[in-house]
Symmetry: C2
Amino acid sequence: MQITNPWEKLSSNIVYKNPWITVHEDKVIMPAGDDGVYAYIESQDSVMVIALNEKHEIFLINAFRYPTSSWSRELPGGSGDGEDSLLAAKRELAEETGITAEHWEKLGETRVCSGLLTQKTAIYLAHGLSFGVQLEAADANTISDGKFYDLDSIDNMIGRGEITDCQSITAIYLTKQWLKNNPMLN
Amino acid sequence: MQITNPWEKLSSNIVYKNPWITVHEDKVIMPAGDDGVYAYIESQDSVMVIALNEKHEIFLINAFRYPTSSWSRELPGGSGDGEDSLLAAKRELAEETGITAEHWEKLGETRVCSGLLTQKTAIYLAHGLSFGVQLEAADANTISDGKFYDLDSIDNMIGRGEITDCQSITAIYLTKQWLKNNPMLN
């Protein structure tokens, strides 16, 4: 495996910034030798949570996504606030679903879109679930219709294109791997 | 499922643009009723290709990713140039690997990060492979070490965190589904 960066960075500017994202534009010498620019988006790392009940069902939410102007069936999760990823996972799950959990397993750290974003997503599996107040007020209008689905149903929903979010499908992939190694959960 | 957009858009500005991405900043009334901004990135839709040989092995490349400054084991693919997604898939596979294919199956259309990006990724499976000249000059320094891996090896690499790209893991998930329905391929 090569380890050298094939781009040479000549200078770097912040061309846009808000509390959630910073857009960087770097002037570079591109790998083939020409001058060019590379713009990319820096943001907080994010978390995604598989809340798994004793029947091996997974809790999915339906979230409204502003950039695509569409509802998306996904796992709970979101951007961290810079805090530890496990704390962020616990906070996001509670805010979006009211669920808390006794056991937490980190299944992996993934990249969302590493040609454009610096963002990593830490994927956590939560089991030993308890159910509390459902939603933080700020989330109440953008998240609806959360419920548990068994893995066969989720597999069919992915096959029919009813779950399209790459981060959620990746988390489900890792859950299937984890269940193979932990078949006697609870 | 709700269908109403819970955000109200008050105005929209382009705050950065280059040939690949456009950053929009919209002034909005947020779902909870407060004024706010939502910035998101518009880009060309992308494609990802599973090149599957007659032994059911998949071709992975090692790609350097500028935003994360790291090499990433991924499936071939990239941004479309606005052309038809199947044409983009054929072009990306040929440019990055030299592989052409007799048969193409569209496995799905996925969302990369729908809280931040408008981008969709069309996932294609290619089989009946032929092997030609390996790389377009522009890609030669950012893509290395391409080869075929069997599905068990890929599964182990995902489990060990050696494949972390959510789009690639999603494509592999869809490939496993497709192989269940098409076990007698070639």
